[in-house]
């Protein structure tokens, strides 16, 4: 392999890594730090522009001074903290053990194949989290049961529409609407001592916590554009949730 094709391969790998990090929910500074570490191991200097949808990267070989610029689109975001953790560990391992390009490629391929938790476990755990929130905010065990079922239904619809490749905001609306309607049945029949709590907590699984935290850290790191984009995404998410809740409450004539 000549120098030029090796540089292109390195650039593609670093683009792949930064895209993987962004998709998994890392903030912009985290993506930059990780690719800087990998680039330093490979004797390269990297200059990148990371936006919400696209990454532009220029890579310069420190020995030959040859450079190459590549662009890559970022696929839809799917939060996965295990990937971010594994890439971070790999970057430190690469520095301490002086990994080759092939070793880094193999590790990244391994990370891409990391398993997610089984779907049923996710549904159960998130529904339990919804029930937990209900308890925290003065719901009794009947309210918690309603919150559990509502969250389960909402998340199930959210996941099903993801499989059908619906637009994110339509999915958020449907998830919020179904969860709210289920919880409103509890309000309608006055189940438990505080049925409104179940309604309020049933849609919390849709709260864009990662987007808003990343928005804040991006703004603090002076990645103003990405910070604003993430903040806007968070606001759009909240709007879609609110519309779902509003429509459900309107149907039940609940003010």
């Amino acid at each position: 392999m000549n120098d030029s094709s090796k540089l292109i391969e390195t650039a593609n790998l670093l683009l792949d890594i930064s895209s993987l990090l962004m998709v998994s929910g890392a903030n912009t500074n985290r993506a930059n730090l990780s690719i800087d570490r990998f680039a330093s191991v490979l004797n390269c200097k990297v200059y990148s522009l990371i936006s919400h949808k696209t990454i532009i990267m220029t890579l310069t070989d420190e020995e030959t001074d040859e450079s190459c610029t590549r662009v890559q689109n970022i696929p839809p975001y799917i939060i996965n903290f295990s990937v971010i953790s594994a890439v971070s560990k790999a970057s430190w391992n690469a520095i301490s053990e002086n990994w080759t390009l092939e070793q880094i490629e193999a590790e990244i391929e391994r990370i891409k194949l990391l398993n997610r938790y089984p779907r049923l476990l996710v549904l159960f755990a998130v529904s339990l989290a919804g029930a937990g929130f209900c308890n925290i905010f003065n719901g009794d065990y009947l309210n918690m049961m309603v919150a559990f079922i509502s969250t389960f239904m909402g998340l199930f619809i959210f996941q099903q529409t993801h499989k059908l490749k619906y637009n994110l905001y339509i999915r958020l609306f449907l998830g919020s609407f179904i969860a709210s309607v289920t919880a409103l049945v509890g309000v309608y029949f006055n189940i438990g001592s505080n049925p409104q709590t179940a309604l309020a907590t049933s849609i919390l699984f849709l709260v864009p916590g990662v987007a808003l935290i990343n928005s804040f850290t991006d703004l603090l790191d002076n990645n103003i554009l990405n910070g604003m984009v993430r903040f806007t995404t968070g606001l759009m998410t909240v709007l879609a949730m609110a519309i779902g809740l509003f429509v459900a409450m309107y149907l039940f004539q609940l003010n």
Binding site: F81, S85, W92, R116, V122, A125, A129, A131, G132, V207
Partner: protein, 102 residues
């Protein structure tokens, strides 16, 4: 008194469960799950104890969030880089119990 302590422990427990649920949704590493529960249990205990002592919810939430962020930073100073990043996620997930919905 015992009733208050039991109530505090109950909401702290459910804070921990809520944090673990969100952690699993975000696919945190399996090794992080117990730490997420413990951190969120502690955060919930601090927040609701302070609220019980008539401390404003904003200050209570701030101190609880500070606890969640502070413990991992302490650990990060002690541990090597390999473990440090893991704690960031524990921090993110553990703070969900502090969501202000009312």
């Amino acid at each position: 008194m015992l009733e208050i302590i039991l109530k505090l422990l109950e909401v702290s427990f459910w804070s921990g469960i809520a944090a673990v649920g969100f952690g699993i949704l975000f696919n945190v590493p399996k090794s992080a799950v117990i730490t997420i529960f413990v951190l969120s249990f502690g955060a919930g205990f601090i927040k609701f104890l302070l609220m019980h002592l008539d401390v404003h919810v904003v200050l209570g939430s701030f101190l609880a969030a500070f606890f969640v962020a502070f413990i991992p930073i302490e650990k990060r100073i002690i541990l090597t880089h390999f473990f440090s990043f893991l704690f960031l996620f524990k921090t993110d997930s553990s703070q969900v119990a502090l969501v202000p919905i009312f």
